[in-house]
């Protein structure tokens, strides 16, 4: 794995290290499929906004960069949402609820500010994709944990994302499981995230001791 990719997926992961975009990360990760949907939506939006922010570099001045980014991101995402609603309605039913939430994801602002506004468009697209992927993977892991502990199932409602064959990957791992409500409710998200952060920190410490 190249340095470029490893930093974004692991070493400087947006969710685990920078703690960016916690609002959607914690709110929509109660099932694996919800988390996956939000992850996919986040990746696509951050790729598009990184690209556009990179394109307007020539007119982006230091003093007005934040309002420019906000303007651009908010309107592009809104336009995307309307287009999706009209022309890809099936997809909209699945991801549509996540899209307005994404506008508030500071991960997107952070990438616009820290990377896309200083680099060429092809690098910005690549950056957006891998940062988004790092975020989506963490989100998916939290979704898996919360769903398994909270409901004893995995991939319920997969048909909403994958169509009819999604029914085949819906698993009930713990039969007659009465559920562990706290894992599904918001506190469960904090616990799951804390576990992942702890594992990541442990690995980092071990790595620096080995060195």
């Amino acid at each position: 794995m190249s340095e470029f990719i490893r930093t974004r997926l692991l070493d400087n992961n947006a969710a685990l290290v920078q703690m960016l975009g916690l609002c959607p990360l914690l709110a929509v990760s109660n099932t694996a499929i919800n988390a996956l949907g939000m992850g996919i939506a986040t990746i696509s939006v951050v790729v598009v906004t990184n690209f556009l922010v990179s394109l307007i570099r020539p007119i982006t001045k230091k003093e007005i960069r934040i309002p420019l980014f906000v303007l651009l991101i908010a309107s592009v995402v809104t336009a995307l949402e309307m287009m999706m609603n009209a022309y890809f309605h099936e997809l909209y039913l699945v991801l549509g609820i996540f899209i307005p939430l994404i506008v508030t994801n500071c991960l997107i602002m952070a990438r616009a500010e820290a990377y896309a506004s200083k680099n060429a468009w092809w690098l910005s697209i690549k950056d957006g994709f891998f940062v988004g992927l790092g975020f989506a993977l963490v989100m998916f892991a939290i979704g898996l944990m919360r769903e398994l502990i909270g409901q004893g199932t995995l991939f319920t409602q997969a048909h909403l994302l994958f169509g009819e064959w999604g029914h085949h990957i819906e698993l009930t791992l713990l039969k007659n499981y009465s559920g562990f409500l706290i894992a599904v409710l918001p506190p469960g998200a904090f616990f799951a995230l804390a576990i992942l952060v702890a594992i990541k920190n442990k690995r980092d410490i071990k790595k620096s001791q080995d060195r």
Binding site: I56, I59, K61, I64, L68, T78, A79, M82, L160, V184
Partner: protein, 209 residues
């Protein structure tokens, strides 16, 4: 060019231009999609109406014959809603009754309940809700078959005092780890059935066979 751009007077100009551009983008995409979205919405509405009001019982135009009602007490409405009347040969055969459950877990749950003239439920559709994803939203028919326990039920079967979830010693299944939402929905459906009874007796004269 560079010199002009670096002039401090250019900053508001850039911002204004960008605002203009993004507003144009939004106007354009709204203009392009507004009809299509409205069409999809009314299509979905018709599709759910068809589920509630079986086609073989109806020969009228549902949308045109719908009447506006507002029943804050009986049906929990917060604003006026459409009551759909399915008629055959001028007689009411089936009704689509809008009801709002104000006691959901988070926010209102809007339902449409289809009721035959003998008081039996044809189907129940959830129109709108904000219940917890993965828990309360299992009331949605595309997410679980919880709603399928209602068709063919009426106020006689089970009896009126059995219109509760099992946890409250009633007849209906709840959803694991979510009791408040099903409780609210069952209560709302019962309200719709009661309203159906009163409405029929109140309007018996107007629609006598």
């Amino acid at each position: 060019m560079k010199a002009i751009l670096n002039n401090k007077w250019m900053l508001p100009v850039i911002l204004a231009l960008m605002t203009l551009l993004t507003s144009a983008l939004l106007m354009f995409s709204h203009e392009m999609t507004v009809d299509k979205i409205a069409a999809i919405k009314s299509e979905n509405k018709l599709a759910s109406l068809k589920k509630l009001l079986p086609a073989n019982l109806i020969d009228n135009d549902l949308i045109a014959d719908a009447i506006d009602i507002e029943e804050p007490v009986l049906l929990g409405h917060r604003h006026s809603e459409k009551l759909y009347l399915g008629k055959k040969n001028g007689q009411i055969t089936v009704m689509g009754i809008p009801v709002t459950a104000q006691n959901g877990y988070s926010g209102d749950i809007d339902l449409l309940v289809g009721v035959l003239s003998n008081g039996q439920i044809t189907a129940v559709e959830i129109i709108n809700h904000k219940e917890t994803p993965g828990l309360g939203d299992l009331i949605e028919s595309r997410k679980s078959d919880w709603l399928l326990q209602f068709p063919n039920k009426s106020l006689n079967e089970p009896t009126t005092n059995q219109w509760l979830v099992k946890k409250d010693r009633g007849h209906f299944d709840q959803i694991t780890a979510a009791t408040i939402t099903p409780r609210a929905v069952v209560g709302a459906i019962k309200k719709a059935l009661l309203y159906h009874q009163t409405w029929l007796s109140a309007n018996a004269e107007a629609f006598k066979p």
